[in-house]
């Protein structure tokens, strides 16, 4: 079950010790699949940059990053883990700033590096605290140590910050919505699909090492999950920028994963093996699933952006006719991320829900309440995500293009009618192949989840440090197989309904006309609901939390000429917390610097005071 590879590594406390256990295998699977697909995608995506950008360096970083991910999830030694972790951050930075000529990209890259590096410091502390208690720098030895509740709680809190920064827990997620849009799309896919999952992996590893944690830890993680999930999806709803929106959805999904882990921890605290296995298995399955569908969505977003040169939802529209393949594949991703049946998102959300309900029925009172809150928020997240992706899909691929520029695209399409559909789509076939593989995997897990669930269930059992029990697995598989059965019946019903429709409509062509629009004669594409207006009711409801702001929009005068309106949702933790803090710090720093430079005498004064202070302090 565990394979350990160990060699000497001559650095302080270091050991070249790798270990393969169910947890690592699971993350490795996600990493491998996504890196492979994103790599294929990049073959098409990077073609326009040939000769303009140092692609060799980019590819090197990409492969190096893949390797470092592999080391991170298999490392068995603290120093090895941290080394790989640092290299991973650096390599990711270079991948993010591919478009380094753009200021926002540079800022995003730096924000990422800054956040992840500061998080790493928490990890230093955490691991050293662990090593100090356990007396070893190797994970498997640490796992045998026993930790006092205070130490365990401290370690867990540090892990929540340190790994939480990477994973994107609120309020440490600020780098995420900047870095994801800044990076080229295959990198965004990797970032969102696996890079933030390394944070989750870290938390899992800590859980595994710590064994039993204090009671509050599970509740804390559950709470973080709920908050991150809800805020993530709400912020996502308020976005106009496609990749930024997807980035916020990553936060939401990390929240879902955290809910799963939280319920798993609660199960372990109260010795409910089944609840714990369900929670962990659901979380891990969601890790895998999110890697697949979020990868798919980011790749799709990349194709859209490469085609139209914009990610602004309020300008896109009608792409389904230009990019038929991408539109279908994106739909698969959208359905998966909303957790709708047929695809993999539903399976993992079901497992987490199952765990929550099981917890609801078996946990003590405060646990029941937390599970209730968890269920309701998960449901709300689902509904909001659905609203959000209906918006995304509807505004990008359906309707008509919202700006005049895109009608040029339509004309181009007309010209290329003679070409094969793939070429007409004008995205490279490698890009479509990569997306198709991911979509296929989404459907595969959605329709035949047994293998994936077994893999993650093993991971869950391993994480809860229980013994893999056949009955438990079957107890989970029973409803799942019912679901799959139902889904197949569902597809049969669809087939029947299609047939019925065919028969009823009979032969002959159906009349095609312009949109009826209640008889309104001059329908312009500008009439369409934009993504902002679609999301407005929800955003308005939450405008205090979302720091929603609107400027302009008033039409004045008897003969109004033009009016502009800008609405934006601001990230509370960024705008309300970190940025002011940062700015104040810089101001303070500048002020002190000015004051310091005034007199050379001050230099001597400090020495004098220091000396006097030491004399008084030490020789009293």
């Amino acid at each position: 079950m565990e394979i350990i590879f160990s060699k000497i590594w001559q650095v302080p406390f270091g050991a070249l010790s790798l270990r393969l256990d169910p947890l690592s295998v699971l993350f490795l699977t996600a990493i491998t699949i996504l890196f492979f697909c994103a790599g294929i995608y990049s073959m098409g995506y990077l073609r326009p940059y040939q000769g303009k950008k140092p692609l060799v360096w980019h590819v090197f970083c990409y492969l190096f990053l893949a390797m470092m991910f592999g080391v991170v999830v298999t490392a068995n030694n603290v120093i090895l883990f941290l080394s790989a972790w640092e290299l991973m951050s650096i390599a990711t930075y270079f991948l993010i700033i591919f478009h380094d000529e753009t200021p926002s990209v540079r800022r995003a890259g730096f924000l990422y590096l800054m956040a992840t590096h500061c998080g790493t410091f928490c990890l230093f502390l955490m691991f050293f605290l662990m090593a100090h208690t356990a007396g070893s720098m190797n994970f498997d030895v640490m796992a045998h140590a026993s930790f006092s509740p205070v130490v365990a709680g401290t370690i867990f809190s540090l892990a929540l910050i340190g790994f939480g920064v990477k994973a994107g827990f609120l309020p440490f997620h600020i780098w995420l919505p900047h870095a994801h849009p800044a990076a080229p799309s295959h990198i965004s896919a990797v970032l969102s699909g696996v890079a933030i999952k390394t944070g989750i992996y870290g938390i899992c590893r800590v859980l595994w090492i710590m064994g039993v944690l204090p009671e509050w830890c599970g509740y804390a993680l559950l709470l973080i999950g709920v908050v991150s999930g809800l805020m993530g999806v709400l912020y996502a709803l308020g976005q106009h920028e496609l990749k930024k929106l997807l980035a916020y959805h990553s936060i939401e999904n990390i929240g879902i994963i955290a809910i799963g882990l939280g319920i798993g921890m609660l199960g372990r605290t109260y010795h409910l093996a089944f609840v714990s296995a369900l929670g962990f298995a659901g979380a891990l399955l969601h890790v895998l699933n999110h890697a697949l569908f979020k990868g798919l969505l980011f790749l799709g977003a990349g194709s859209v952006i490469q085609k139209t040169h914009t990610g602004d939802l309020d300008r896109l529209g009608g792409l389904a006719k230009i990019m038929p393949y991408t539109s279908v594949l994106f739909l698969v991703g959208a359905l998966s991320i909303c957790g709708l049946p047929l695809f993999n998102g539903f399976i993992s959300e079901f497992v987490i829900f199952y765990g929550l309900f099981q917890g609801l029925l078996t946990l003590p009172l405060q646990g029941v309440f937390s599970c209730g809150v968890g269920i309701v928020s998960l449901a709300l997240m689902g509904a909001l995500a659905l609203a959000c992706f209906a918006k995304v899909y509807g505004t990008i691929f359906l309707g008509k293009p919202r700006r005049t520029g895109d009608s040029a695209l339509f004309q181009e399409k007309e010209r290329n009618r003679a070409l094969s559909p793939v070429l007409r789509e004008a995205t490279s076939k490698w890009m479509i192949v990569a997306m198709a593989v991911l979509a296929g995997l989404c459907a595969w897990i959605g329709l035949a989840p047994r293998n994936a669930v077994r893999l993650t269930f093993a991971g869950g059992e391993y994480l809860s440090r229980g013994v893999l029990m056949k009955e438990d697995f079957e107890k989970l598989m029973a409803p799942l197989s019912m679901i799959i059965g139902t889904v197949f019946i569902f597809m049969a019903v669809i087939a029947v309904l299609v047939l019925v429709r065919k028969v009823l409509l009979g032969k002959g062509s159906m009349p095609i006309q312009d949109t009826w629009a209640c008889g309104f004669a001059q329908v312009s594409p500008k009439f369409q609901y934009t993504s902002s207006s679609f999301a407005r009711p929800i955003v308005e409801l939450m405008k205090k939390i979302l720091m929603f702001s609107r400027q302009g929009g008033k039409v004045v005068g008897e003969f109004p000429v033009q009016a502009h309106m800008i609405s934006a949702v601001k990230d509370a933790s960024e705008e309300g917390m970190f940025r002011p803090l940062y700015i104040r710090f810089i101001r303070l720093s500048r002020k002190l610097d000015e004051r310091r430079n005034k007199y050379t005498q001050m230099y001597l004064m400090y020495i004098f005071l220091f000396l006097i202070f030491l004399l008084i302090w030490k020789l009293r």
Partner: protein, 218 residues
């Protein structure tokens, strides 16, 4: 003999105080020269056994270097740089004197808590040297001109020198070398720097503006 040593010690501290109280740079340097002169008698006064050549050489060396050469260089420097001659303290002269008095009291208090393990010429040597060091430090801290800082530094060195004399028997000659080297080099280099400042001042008119804007920080 002790009475002479006591008197010399008191004089050294007194001159430190008066340097603190001086309001013209020239006066400071003159007083420093006198202080050094007093100090240069100390090796001869403090000898515990027969007067040796070492004592006399040290006395003479100190006298030449500190009481003559250094003040000369300093006078040369202020003439050369054509600085204005006010001292320009950060805190007023009156309060400087009060602080200086407090520092003297403090150094006596500190000295009372430690006992000198060996034989010492006078029990005033250690507190007085400490007081001189602190007063020198204070001159450096509170006076804004480069030359006054050099003077402060030199006063401090005088304090250390006085202290070193108490260790006269225990220490190898190396330390004295060190002290002399230090003083020599410090003054030398400081003078060079002041000189360079002047050179730049003359050479580039653009620097003049900046220099004057810089105020009196050097």
């Amino acid at each position: 003999m002790t009475i002479w040593i006591d008197a010399a010690c008191i004089l050294v501290v007194f001159f430190s105080l008066s340097i603190l109280a001086a309001y013209r740079i020239g006066g400071m340097i003159q007083m420093f020269a006198v202080q050094s002169l007093v100090l240069s008698f100390m090796p001869v006064l403090m000898h515990s056994h027969a007067l040796s050549l070492r004592d006399i050489l040290l006395s003479l060396g100190t006298m030449v270097l500190k009481a003559v050469l250094v003040p000369y260089i300093l006078f040369w420097a202020i003439r050369h740089v054509s600085m204005r001659s006010e001292v320009k303290p950060i805190i007023g002269i009156g309060s400087s004197i009060v602080c200086g008095a407090l520092l003297i009291a403090g150094s006596f208090w500190v000295s009372s808590s430690v006992t000198f393990p060996g034989k010492i010429a006078s029990d005033l040597v250690i507190p007085c040297s400490l007081a001189t060091v602190l007063l020198g430090f204070m001159i450096m801290v509170t006076r804004t001109r480069a030359v006054t800082q050099v003077v402060g530094y030199l006063v401090m060195e005088n304090g250390i020198f006085l202290f070193a004399l108490s260790l006269f028997d225990a220490m190898p000659i190396l330390i004295e070398m060190g002290i002399l080297l230090d003083i020599f080099a410090a003054v030398f280099i400081m003078a060079i720097v002041v000189n360079h400042i002047n050179e730049e001042f003359e050479r580039s008119p653009a620097a003049v503006k900046r220099w004057s804007k810089m105020g009196e920080s050097i």
